[in-house]
Symmetry: C2
Subunit: 256 residues, 2 copies
């Protein structure tokens, strides 16, 4: 099998109906573009969903961090470069660079992925796929000048914000709440007046456990710095009063 380039580049358009009231691409839709780029890149190289799914395996996104110096505006064309910068038995890290025309840099992303067996739902050995083929694609030289995901620290000071029901549109092909929908629900904790005075510079999310259609999701938010917020999402555990953590997230806004 002939090797492709380590870095894949994919073209996207900031679609007008994917932009917010201020004409900026929604972070959730940008996240979706990054996930698409990851998907195309891994499929093209033989260890993507097209190969994994018939073999009862799938990639699972564990963490995603996106940091933007600027958001694409409606109709802007941009590219997403993506590459693997590290692979181990149970985790790989994948980076993203988001660029506009004439060398403009919008921002970068970092992500961590696991691979699971879809029958047992247990982690499975990434390096067993095509005799560790993924190692041939690791690029440790291309820079990704944003910090790795941090541990999102929240304490009992987190404020309960709301409980939402989950519906048909929230669910992806695996039957779980869609990774991108969590991003939307988190960013919906801030209202339009807030977004009129701030823009989102950095967004981090860690996927801790799965949730399903019909689960009620509880949102807790804590201000952890100047324009910095952390959010915890929990789901109820059936027939108990307990909650299980599903997602943690951290946002850094900049006041305009």
């Amino acid at each position: 099998m002939e090797l492709l380039s380590k870095i894949g580049r994919y073209d996207f358009l900031a679609e007008p109906f994917h932009c917010d009231f201020a004409n900026r691409l929604f972070m959730g839709h940008l996240g979706n573009h990054l996930l698409n780029a990851a998907d195309f890149h891994s499929n093209d190289r033989g260890y993507g969903m097209h190969y994994l799914n018939p073999n009862h395996k799938t990639w699972v996104l564990s963490r995603l961090a996106i940091e933007m110096s600027e958001m694409p505006k409606a109709y802007d064309r941009f590219t997403v470069d993506t590459w693997i910068d590290g692979a181990m038995r149970y985790f790989t890290s994948r980076n993203f660079a988001i660029r506009g025309q004439n060398g403009k840099v919008y921002g970068y992303g970092r992500s961590i992925w696991a691979m699971i067996d879809t029958d047992s739902r247990q982690p499975t050995d990434i390096l067993a796929i095509h005799d560790g083929l993924i190692m041939s694609y690791v690029d440790t030289e291309k820079p990704c000048p944003i910090e790795k995901s941090s541990r999102v620290k929240m304490d009992s000071g987190a404020e309960f914000m709301r409980t939402i029901d989950t519906y048909y549109s929230d669910v992806d092909v695996n039957g779980h709440i869609n990774s991108v929908k969590y991003i939307e629900h988190i960013l919906d904790l801030f209202d339009i007046d807030f977004y009129g005075q701030h823009h989102l510079k950095r967004f981090e999310i860690a996927y801790v456990a799965e949730s399903h259609q019909g689960d009620q999701l509880n949102f807790y938010r804590q201000m952890t710095g100047e324009s910095e917020y952390c959010v915890r999402i929990t789901k109820g555990i059936k027939n108990t009063d307990n909650e299980a953590e599903v997602v943690r997230s951290k946002m850094i806004f900049v006041k305009d």
Copy 2:
């Protein structure tokens, strides 16, 4: 100005994260692709948002009907043909044909658009744009073999389903609840078990009035035939107990 072809053709991909639990493209995302095709087609021909917005005018979607013999599945590539099949002073009708590879026909769409003045929010004369340029693009010959939108008839038998809050992600660049988000919210009135036994053949929506972030939307649903449902969305009117109608919709499902 040289005339382009009357029919525009645009390429799309059924992105994996835009597909439902059964791997079918969500109707809301398909609707978004049709709106994009309309937008590209009208921009390319000189009467799109790029020309209108600086001139304080905008297109407003009034009705949309989509009828599918089959939905694209994840990773399917499809094209959307779009053309104007009628233009009058205050309304145009625009059709869509959704096709796959090797001549496969997925389905068709019909839509009605008005143009408004963004300062006064009043209808404005479509034929005044570039001396009625749009008339040069009317194609009445290309077939669109689905019925026009019907009047959605609902009576007092409609059942109140739920009230939802609207948030930042619901709002488009005009500050209104996004046309596509209404589609999602309506289809969320049916749960995954229902979609496991039915597929959506025809979806119609009429946009009656605008709503904004923070508005509470009330959903009423009535079964109007075998696997046929109508939905009315209202918003509360401030400082009263009254509700104003925002959207009407009709769905025809087919039992699998």
